[in-house]
Symmetry: C2
Subunit: 217 residues, 2 copies
DNA sequence: AATAATATTTAGACAAATCTAAAAATATGT
DNA sequence: ACATATTTTTAGATTTGTCTAAATATTATT
């Protein structure tokens, strides 16, 4: 498996290619920041290798083997992210770029030892689930903060937007995973929220609220 | 810098290219397990980039920039080896292959944090010196065990042969870096040694003795 | 000094991964 | 349904790193 092949599989997985849903060439090209013609070439190659099903002009879906391979890479990516944060004091907005490189290191022993060192974490610094060695993982029951009604409360468990800008904004406002958020009021005009978090009161826009995942009791 | 370029620089450094000694095309090809014609192509490219001096039919030497780059990669390689041994319980015969991959990860912050986590080690698991962030390092005063006279003693500080076979042999015979070795006797016929190490007495061939570095008091 | 052996370079090919531009298929709108 | 817009594929080119085979330069031997 080349690095490029691994990146295609990961992108297709993130677009939903695991549930026999046909993923369009253009969608993959956009996700990978490449051209559709390049995607077509790679789709043929990966189909040849038995990692995905490719129907000309229709799109691709991952085979069981393709899903397994994608999950192994996602597992590595997320474990490295946890390692960087927990062991090397990286901030959660710094880890993605480095993990993009580390996820391609080929050593089963290495990633299993990292997993053990971290005591088998279930979620990465952004709240995304970490597949086990055998590829199992459960998505946490969660919803967007923006979907909660007035007076509801939830624990912050993840972010939808993982951009550095957004993550730094959250840091600046001391909003972190694990924090409990109460919705005090919602503004009809722009859906902005008046919330209480860790004793403080805060006003946040709908754009913020619709990029924060919470778990309700 | 591509991975391939980095590997060429490292190989040339290991062949002595830092001391304005001309390194032959064939020597590089052998070290890299590639063909001389490939080396010529790469030599032109690296010369173009100012990383080495290339004289047609004569060989190459590293420029100051080339030395600096090579040392940065060697630093990463050796720090990762220490990390694998100290933090993840890898054995010293397992680390090289993985370090060959990890040395190409591009993140200054990452390697500096690994350095700090390990408390700035000066030597890797095979006794080789680790360059600092600024590229300084001193080779430890050492000599081959085979060069010591009868009755001399020394502390084991490194290995010349870093092959898995040799390292595993040393493990099996409980010979480790840091051990003190006394030369009890030397056999004229085959230069094999009768040694005392950590209380035990052992008979070792000249081939073993000429791959073990010791530091004398 | 001429010849033979060795080392190095050049020329041309190939595989991987990408791109642009043109062609073909599919989807959309009236 | 048919013209138009969009999506996807194909054809051909490019870059990087490699290879083989032939040509050229250097070194060693007589
Ligand atoms: Mn990430
Ligand atoms: Mn993440
Ligand atoms: Mn090594
Ligand atoms: Mn080493």
């Amino acid at each position: 498996m080349t690095r490029s092949e691994e990146n295609y599989l990961k992108a297709i997985f993130h677009l939903g290619g695991q549930n026999s849903k046909l993923i369009a060439t253009n969608a993959i090209a956009e996700q990978m920041e490449t051209k559709p013609s390049s995607v077509t070439d790679m789709a043929k190659k990966l189909a040849e290798k038995g990692l995905l099903h490719y129907k000309r002009y229709q799109g691709v879906t991952l085979t069981p083997m393709g899903v397994k391979t994608a999950l192994a890479i996602i597992r590595k990516h997320r474990l490295w992210e946890v390692f960087l944060v927990k062991k090397l004091d990286f901030t959660w907005d710094e880890v993605h770029e480095v993990a993009e490189q580390l996820e391609h290191i080929k050593s089963e022993k290495l990633i299993d030892k990292i997993d053990a060192l971290l005591e088998y974490p279930k979620f990465d610094p952004h709240g995304d689930p970490i597949p086990t060695k055998t590829g199992e993982f459960q998505e946490r029951a969660k919803q967007l903060l923006s979907e909660l009604p007035i007076a509801a409360q939830g624990v912050c468990v993840g972010v939808k937007d993982t951009s550095s800008t957004f993550l730094k904004f959250l840091d600046k406002n001391s909003i972190a995973l694990g924090n409990t958020i109460h919705i005090l009021d919602k503004e009809d005009f722009d859906n902005s929220l008046h919330i209480q978090i860790e004793g403080r009161e805060l006003q946040i826009s709908n754009q913020i609220a619709s990029n924060l995942y919470v778990k309700t009791a």
